[in-house]
């Protein structure tokens, strides 16, 4: 009895269509169907390709109405879409506004997808912190480090980075930005131990904690990231990560600068770390920065923006102040430094002084 032309196909916007959409996604949720299946349901019922994108989880799903998968370019902002959870978005590849069936498909598919994301997030097994630390321990024999890595799902040939945190256990960063270890708060308040790491530097007036997918009320955690290499080289990566951590800042007005620093990008600056610590006598340029910091709450952040951007205009944009406001601020604060930060040499001197100031604040662990 198989040749009945009863088929699951795009629904006409009749009175029963909405009920059928509800029934369809309710049954998918009941059967604990996966994301691919949910996106396929959206594509089939809406009769156009559907996507789920989630930068935070590195999810990119696209399904065509015939049920087959196909990759494509980035989503078109004019398409119909609905938020699923934090950065996850469900799309129907048709310009809006959605009709009644499309709207129902979006709503119900998003609800089903949200349930999957919450369920799978809870199911992620916590990485064993002792195993993470063992992989980083230069004193441990290599075979023990490799065994510990295997427990974390890492092959010896995997390219992995060590991550050093301020005031928290270390973690690893594997291919695909998969973070292993060190639970952090997410915007929904749940703990997660495996997830993508946000690279953007939390600068005042620049990339904010909210941009990073973290609730702005949660303190951004400083992190140093070591170079990528095979698992056996993780202790070396961790040493570099701890040096990089010393170049980070909390991203506040009192301590402006990047919250995340890659050892790969430090270059010769890394050499400074060996010579400076909390007990070292600061050089006059660092004392000058402290004088500037004392003159106004915005002063240090202003200098940091000037040091880190290519032009004063870019610095003003980053600080979210008018160009003329920046000029006024510099007129006020720059004389306290004692050198001209608009000269290339002066900018370098400023960058080095800011770096040294962070090294003084963040001692070797």
């Amino acid at each position: 009895m198989k040749d009945l032309a009863v088929r699951l196909a795009a629904l006409d916007p009749d009175a029963g269509a909405a009920l059928r959409v509800i029934a369809y996604f309710d049954r998918l949720a009941e059967g604990r169907a996966g994301l691919q299946t949910i996106v396929r349901g959206a594509a089939v019922l809406a009769g156009c390709p559907a996507r789920l994108t989630d930068d935070a989880r590195r999810i990119q799903l696209r399904v065509q109405p015939d049920g087959t998968d196909a990759t494509a370019g980035p989503p078109d902002p004019s398409w119909m879409s609905v938020g699923v959870a934090d950065q996850a978005v469900l799309w129907l590849e048709r310009p809006g506004p959605p009709g009644p069936v499309d709207a129902m498909v979006l709503e119900r598919a998003a609800g089903a997808a949200r349930a999957v994301l919450e369920r799978t997030r809870r199911q992620i097994p916590p990485a064993d912190p002792a195993s993470v630390e063992l992989t980083l321990d230069a004193a441990a024999p290599e075979h023990l480090r490799l065994t510990a890595a295997a427990r974390l799902g890492l092959k010896p040939s995997d390219q992995v980075r060590a991550i050093a945190y301020a005031g928290a256990p270390p973690a690893l960063l594997a291919a695909g930005n998969r973070r292993i270890g060190h639970p952090v708060e997410t915007d929904t308040g749940r703990m997660t131990s495996v997830g993508p790491l946000q690279h953007a530097a939390g600068r005042p007036g620049g990339t904010t904690a909210a941009d990073n997918g973290l609730d702005a009320t949660i303190t951004v955690q400083r992190a140093g990231i070591g170079p990528a290499g095979p698992v056996a080289d993780l202790p070396t990566s961790y040493t570099a990560a701890r040096i990089a951590l010393r170049f980070t800042a909390t991203g506040t007005e009192a301590d402006p600068g990047p919250t995340v620093v890659h050892a790969d990008r430090l270059g010769g600056l890394a050499l400074l770390a060996a010579t400076v610590g909390p007990g070292t006598e600061p050089i006059p340029d660092v004392r000058a920065l402290d004088r500037v910091a004392a003159c106004a709450p915005w002063a240090l952040a202003t200098l940091d923006a000037v040091a880190e951007t290519l032009s004063l205009r870019a610095a003003a944009t980053q600080l979210r102040v008018h160009h003329s406001t920046l000029q006024e601020r510099l007129t006020h604060a720059a004389p306290l430094l004692g050198w001209d930060i608009r000269e290339p040499q002066g900018r370098l001197r400023l960058q080095v002084a800011l770096a040294l100031r962070r090294l003084h604040r963040n001692g070797p662990a």
Binding site: L8, R20, L28, G31, R40
Partner: protein, 324 residues
Amino acid sequence: MTTVSPPPPFDPELAAALSVVGESLPPSLTADMIQPMRSGSLLADPTDEDLARGGAFTVARRTVPGPAGAPEIELLILTPAGARTTLPGIYHTHGGGMIVGNNRSGVDVLQDWATEVPAVIVSVEYRLAPEHPHPAPVEDCYAGLVWTAEHAAELGIDPHHLIVAGASAGGGLAAALALLARDRGGPALAGQMLLCPMIDDRNDTPSAVQMAGLGVWDRTSNDTGWTALLGAARGGPDVSPYAAPARATDLSGLPPAFIDVGSAETFRDEDVTYASRIWQAGGQAELHVWPGGFHGFDMMVPQAAVSQEARAARVRWLRRLLGA
């Protein structure tokens, strides 16, 4: 057996689709529903334009002799456009529980195959039960098969690459054709493609009992179909293997079989047993049991992941069998 466990769950994606399409297709069909089904909108048959697929196939019909003393039968012949050599032939017996359908029903599935593995499709119009009980349907099918084999050259078919194929009741008829061709010294068949075939009138396997009232074509529907075909003889001691191939005592000497079925349908156990018995008889069979599949899932929900797998497996078998 005394007790039967609860049925296996439907695949979640198929279950969701069933909740949408099932409202127009109840699991249990009874005799009084045969006529409404024949005239109802469920049977949206493809038009000649659909069949032509934009010129990819030429559509022809031939009226050929039926069984001795019976009316002529119509064969629908779909030939891939621009074929330069002879092609494999797929002789199709449509489904519909022996009680509904026509030679256009379900041929789109075969056209999908022929697009991947070029082949000439011949689909037979056979008389339906209950107006025409056994052996009318299977003898019509056999007469059309014999004519097709005898006219292979004219149809552009390579006679060494002629297979039978069908789904559901059509799968049962295809299996019966393989038995008949063997027993009567009829056309040499290269294979038999049996999709969720309906082959056992006894209707008492664990899967038939488990799935009662569930999914598509449940035990009640199956009883409706078999009773239409066999009348009071259904389930009794004297049913011919050409009506119900599961009744055959000898499954040796048959062409290679492809058998697929869902784990959550009435026909699961009779189809698995048929494959096992072919192997036990020294024959060749490829068996796929798709987890959580209801009857005809791949046709009703072609987009589902498990449907895509099921459809792809058939084409892969055809490729290996026909060397395309």
